[in-house]
């Protein structure tokens, strides 16, 4: 691997920790060169994976968050190897929706899921995922495919017998060539889709009961267990390129709910000067380390409105790549603001990662509001009123219209 670059001084640093890795390390930041046109998959090391697409800006591999509107705001999608942090809204009504969209998108595109929660059993979370909105043609096809897959037996091929020797493709229930799907929140995802998908669940009360024989370190036990679980899955299923026999590369979608809440054993939501001040930040750092060296993308929801210490919120933001904050209008004075009468809340894109790039990438649109109708979660720019009545000026703080 190390090219024979001859230099006049051949002083190899002996004590260097990072001597060039001799194994093929698959990072997600593989530049899709001109040879990787998609047709000749033998050339590029990163075969095109279902449900991903390269970014138009820097060639980075992106996955959809499940909300095409949010994908657009984030510059095309969520980069593989990064963390999407959702700052929960006050009563935790809308952030679980974004969480579920992300997981549903994973099922629809055939990615492997890893769901971690301290509150709900991951199996229950999966049952509540929204149903994808498919065209009718597509739906008929997937019913047919599923029937065929179940009744398929070893039919010997008579004419095209050479094809018998090829490995069978896994039946994908839904055509995964699209990037980003729409979901119907009022319906549940069909059971067949869940059963056809591969997922791993981490439910904290089940995992924490086993005895721990670890050295004491400043991470709390729940986080240590979760990190080990994630690392295990990544290693065993080859998401970090450690298993070269695996021909079909896939993305691991990790979803962690309510991280930092007291249910995880963390006390940053109770007091300002707590003992485990560094648990959450250390966890995020280790998670970043795991993600950067594997084909995975992660969504985390954190109740930042409960965290007492503002410094921790700043540190958590710095350790995450993409940060989206949700602010619902329930119970706030904005609920009666005529500007926002059609909307349920505001969505703030607080941070977008600047990976493999110098350019400072900040979303152009700043005032965004979201609304949840029966079927769809839409994100829009609230319309500026053309006529400003005196009664409106008193309530609209800082949202004066641009003439």
């Amino acid at each position: 691997m190390a090219a024979a670059a001859s230099c006049s001084t051949s002083t190899r640093s002996t004590g260097s920790v990072v001597v060039a890795a001799s194994r093929n390390s698959v990072t997600s930041f593989q530049r899709r060169g001109p040879r990787a046109s998609g047709t000749d998959s033998g050339c590029s090391r990163l075969v095109s994976i279902a449900g991903t697409r390269p970014s138009v800006r820097n060639g980075q591999l992106l996955v959809s968050t499940g909300l095409p509107a949010l994908d657009q705001l984030l510059g095309g999608g969520l980069a593989v190897g990064t963390v999407l942090l959702i700052e929960e809204d006050k009563y935790n009504i809308y952030s679980p929706l974004l969480f579920k969209y992300f997981l549903a998108e994973g099922i629809v595109t055939g990615h492997t899921l890893l769901v971690a929660s301290a509150k709900e059993d991951p199996a229950d979370i999966l049952q509540e995922l929204p149903a994808p909105l498919l065209d009718d043609n597509c739906k008929k096809e997937c019913d047919e495919d599923i029937c065929n897959h179940k009744t398929e037996s070893n039919i010997k091929m008579k004419i095209a017998w050479r094809y018998q020797l090829l490995p069978k493709m896994e039946a994908r229930p839904v055509s995964s060539s699209r990037f980003g799907h729409y979901y119907d929140v009022s319906k549940r995802i069909p059971q067949e889709l869940i059963e056809a998908s591969k997922w791993h669940g981490f439910f904290l009360p089940e995992k924490i009961s086993s005895t721990l024989n670890l050295e004491p370190c400043s991470l709390n036990h729940g986080y240590i267990k979760l990190l080990q679980f994630i690392q295990n899955i990544i290693y065993e299923e080859g998401f970090d390129g450690s298993n070269p026999q695996k021909k079909q590369k896939n993305i691991l979608r990790i979803g962690i709910q309510n991280l930092g809440s007291p249910l995880w054993g963390d006390d940053i939501c109770w007091t300002e000067n707590c003992d485990s001040n560094h648990s959450l930040t250390k966890f995020l750092y280790m998670l970043r380390g795991l993600l950067r060296s594997s084909l995975s993308a992660c969504i985390i929801t954190v109740p930042t409105h409960l965290i007492q210490n503002k410094a921790i919120i700043a540190r958590v933001t710095n350790l995450s790549d993409t940060v989206v904050g949700l602010e619902s209008f329930i119970g706030s004075e904005k609920e009666t603001n005529p500007l926002y009468k059609d909307y349920h809340g505001l969505i703030h894109i607080r941070q977008i990662p600047q990976l493999n790039n110098l350019i400072y990438d900040v979303s152009d649109v700043k005032d965004l509001a979201f609304k949840l109708k029966r079927k769809l979660f839409t994100i829009e720019h609230p319309p500026t009123p053309t006529v400003l009545l005196p009664s409106q000026t008193s309530t609209s703080r800082g949202h004066s219209p641009v003439w």
Binding site: A2, A3, A5, C7, S8, T9, S10, T11, R12, S13, G15, S16, V17, V18, A20, T27, F29, R31, N58, E215, P216, C217, S218, L227, Q228, Q231, N277, H278, T281, K282, Y285, M286, R288, G289, L290, R292, S293, K310, A311, I313, A314, R315, N318, L319, Q354, L355, N356, N357, L358, I359, Y360, V362, D364, K366
Partner: protein, 266 residues
Amino acid sequence: MFPELNNLLNTTPDQAEQGKLTLLCDAKTDGSFLVHHFLSFYLKANCKVCFVALIQSFSHYNIVGQKLGVSLTTARECGQLVFLEGLKSAVDVFFRPQEEPHPLQFLREANSGNLQPLYEFVQEALKPVDSGEAAWRCPVLLVDDLSVLLSLGVGAVAVLDFIHYCRATVCWEWKGNVVALVHDSGDAEDEENDILLNGLGHQSHLILRAEGLATGFCKDVHGQLRILWRRPSEPTAQRDRSLTYQYKIQDKNVSFFAKGMSPAVL
């Protein structure tokens, strides 16, 4: 490296100063472009660089470095660059217990952590080789970034001690340079970070502070850069020289202009 920034700082790769501590800080914006600048600057200046990259992966710096005209892989292979990839090493040290002391050993410790193994790693990496001929011009330590160490449970005083030891060895003994990035948390009331920032601010010879515009986000002006030259060892009645410029980051370059003189406005 950005030629315009070299002009502002009055340096070129051939005449790089020695024995200096440069502090990079950012407030309300991302100052990592300064890290990329100094990395490519010192590699082009033929210095031996030890880069402690705690926050991003190697390929990130490599890809940006290629845009700026340096190849980190080549530099690493021929020994000019010693790269500590914090994220990868952290996973190694955390999940697979190591026998010998690892530079990021503090991740396994419960209390506020000791950066001595990290200092020893830097020392080992930048030690001048006694081969007689000077292969590289001067040793340079580059850290991106120090605020992450605070998030990992290391106390501000331990980080200040680490920089002090590095300064004593790299700057004073071996006549090299140290460049470190610290985030300024602004109104987030991060006391540890403020201690670190103030402590380093008093020890540095050059402070580059990237700030977001006070008026908010703008597409054409990404921020403001304050340059402050200091003389920490000489108490002097003269005021330290300071300059302020605004900048816009492009794909392969950063352009600087005087305040209010953005080409978009003129």
